[in-house]
Amino acid sequence: MDVDLLIGIFPQVLLDGITLGFMYALIALGYTMVYGVLEFINFAHSEIFIFGAFVGVEVLLGLKSIGLLDGLPWPLVLILALVVGMGASGLLAVTVERIAYRPLRGAPRLIPLISAIGISFFLQDLIRLVESLWRNAFNLVYPTMDVLNLRFELSETIDVSVKSLVVIGGALLMLWALHLIVNRTKVGTAIRAVAEDQAAASLMGIDVNRIISLTFLIGGAMGGAAGVLFGVQYGLINPYSGFIPGLKAFTAAVLGGIGNIPGAMLGGLVLGLLEAFAAAYLSLLTGGAFGAEYKDILAFSMLILILIFRPKGLLGEVVRERA
């Protein structure tokens, strides 16, 4: 076994893991916030995430077609794509809640979950339908921007691409903004109150339905931002590629303690690192017997193990279960 190689790639893998981890953290926030207020797994969140990626690519392609992609300064272009993607995803999340979840509030627990699965499948094919009719293609490629592909060589084995810096920077910005909203504003207090006790919150004069919509809006916007960043980082998107990252992000949310916002961030980072290391080292350590594909199994086995042995997750939010 080549120990030098194992040590040599370590910093690079660490960096990749952190990039991936922040992406998971952003998506996981959507799951965890909704779970916090409704105790309900928003299964369609993975499609809200990939919807953001599609809106982002449409913005970039639109700018490209009118020749502004290289005309405008690149941070402005990215911010535009991010903002539009976030807005669209947030609104989609609110709409989905109004149509498919709100009528089912108070029904036995499996009913809204099945409805959410239905919405998830419906949205996948709806995106495909719209893109097929509009562009005659549903596998879309993010237009390349030269700046993003620049790499700084830190040493022989490590290089940092502008892309990953954008992803990490963008994610940090979002997380900070979310922290401010939830902990420093009146609306944030209302969200926390509704998560704590809906009945009591409504007695205090909080419009619970509005706060729930708002939670979906914020969670959806975070998902949309993650979608745009996902597109920027990996380039190729299709309507079905949100599913697996969504499931992983849910794992991250559970890992950190579902319903717990800092937990989602921590869980995302841990899972991202774990996956990056598994992808890089599994094959090397086992002499090629187990490839990088097993990282999926690792993530799912971890989900199963956490749910069985420590369902409250790392940061220990108490999980109340209604059967």
């Binding site: 089912l104 099945i114 239905g118 419906f122 996948q124 005659n136 499931l247 199963i304 749910l307 279960e321």
Partner: protein, 397 residues
């Protein structure tokens, strides 16, 4: 009396129509609809069962003789009816939402695919394999057993989970099985990875029946067996215990229901049906690869159960038929029809259909169909089209 006459006329005429217009999807749907009418309408029981038996045992194979495609559709329907009935036990009776159900189908399919094809020689060495065709009949039971054991193995760790957590874990389990099937071509080549396994042996058929008819009758036989087992279970103390768990776990335990045993039994029973059908499926297809066992299939089966009505046996049968036919016939039929219109250069409201994007293929939108079914049923009719008797009474209160 009038209803009986209508039923006989419907079945006879629609069968005749299918024989006359072997290419029309609508006519075949009419034939299926007439069977449903026979099942639901008020008429003497002997007539009802006589008509159903004649249709399924005589008319359907005759139709299939003229157009083997219909027989293929009917066999597929049979496979999915058995899967839906299996999932119905887990989700409908015991209330455990299993989102990885297709994994058990995969276990059954791979058990025969590996040992019933030359591929096993790669694993064990030598020239012993494939096993002789008659082993297929043994493997129907091996597949059943293997799937049941897999069901128990999945059940054991998740005993403590309820509701949506259980759903997510079973989803993860289904994905794990699929990833394993995709990647276990090394270090030892068990599944041949994404390339799949072929050729899978087919059994010698009794009386030299052609394979199309053989698999149709076998599927029908298994479906009947599954229905009988299901009916017997439903009214047994096991079925009652499952429903007690579904309604209130704590109360069920207080009444002396052993949660561990009953939950494991639900998983094992549900899985075993899928296992048998998996064996049949692999022999019928001759070729299998992990693509046939995706999350999409699990949700498809779930949509069948939900559409028909959770916990209801006729519901599961009707749900499976409707969804399979919708996928195999209506969506594909619509695709073909659209293509014909396109080639003919038809214009609708001044829009030339020839300008439709090439990537727009209606046949590919089964997810949308499943999604719409799930959401609409949950919002407007959570008890399904044919609700289980007990649930119907509950909701009527």
């Amino acid at each position: 009396m009038i209803r009986s006459l209508i039923a006989v006329a419907l079945v006879g005429l629609s069968a005749l129509a299918v024989a006359t217009f072997p290419r029309s999807v609508l006519v075949f749907l009419l034939f299926q609809g007439s069977l449903l009418y026979v099942f639901k309408a008020r008429m003497p029981d002997p007539l009802r069962w006589g008509l159903l038996a004649t249709s399924l045992l005589v008319l359907m194979p005759t139709i299939g003789y003229f157009n083997s495609y219909y027989l293929e559709v009917a066999t597929q329907v049979g496979i999915f009816v058995a899967l839906a009935l299996g999932l119905n036990i887990v989700v409908g009776l015991a209330g455990l939402l299993d989102l990885g159900y297709v994994a058990f189908f995969a276990v059954g399919a791979y058990s025969w695919a590996i040992l019933g094809s030359p591929h096993a020689n790669v694993i064990f060495g030598g020239e012993t394999f494939p096993l002789a065709g008659w082993w297929f009949y043994v493997f129907l039971f091996v597949g059943l057993g293997t799937a049941a054991i897999t069901g128990i193995l999945l059940g054991l760790p998740v005993l403590r989970l309820h509701g949506d957590y259980l759903a997510i874990v079973t989803l993860g389990f289904g994905e794990v099985i699929r990833v394993l099937a995709n990647n276990l071509d090394k270090p030892i080549n068990f599944t041949n990875g994404p390339k799949g396994i072929t050729p899978i042996s087919r059994p010698p058929t009794p009386f030299g029946i052609p394979y199309g008819e053989f698999f149709y009758f076998l599927a029908l036989l298994i479906v009947v067996a599954v229905i009988v087992v299901n009916r017997r279970l439903e009214d047994s103390h096991i079925g009652r215990a499952w429903e007690a768990i579904r309604e209130d776990e704590l109360a069920a335990r207080a009444m002396g229901v052993s949660l561990v045993r009953m939950k494991l039994m639900a998983f094992a029973c549900g899985a075993s049906f899928a296992g048998v059908m998996g064996v049949l499926f692999s022999a019928k297809q001759v070729f299998i690869n992990p693509e046939s066992f995706t999350f999409l299939e699990s949700i498809g089966v779930l949509a069948m159960v939900i559409l028909g009505g959770m916990g209801s046996i006729p519901g599961a049968i009707v749900g499976a038929t409707v969804v399979t036919v919708l996928n195999l016939q209506v969506l594909k039929g619509f695709s073909l029809w659209l293509n014909e219109l396109k080639n003919a250069g038809v214009t609708v409201l001044g829009y030339s259909l020839a300008d439709l994007p090439t990537q727009f293929e209606p046949a590919k939108y089964e997810r949308m169909v499943f999604g719409i079914i799930l959401v609409l049923m949950m919002i407007f009719r959570p008890q399904g089209i044919f609700p289980a008797r007990r649930r119907q009474r509950e909701l009527a209160k």
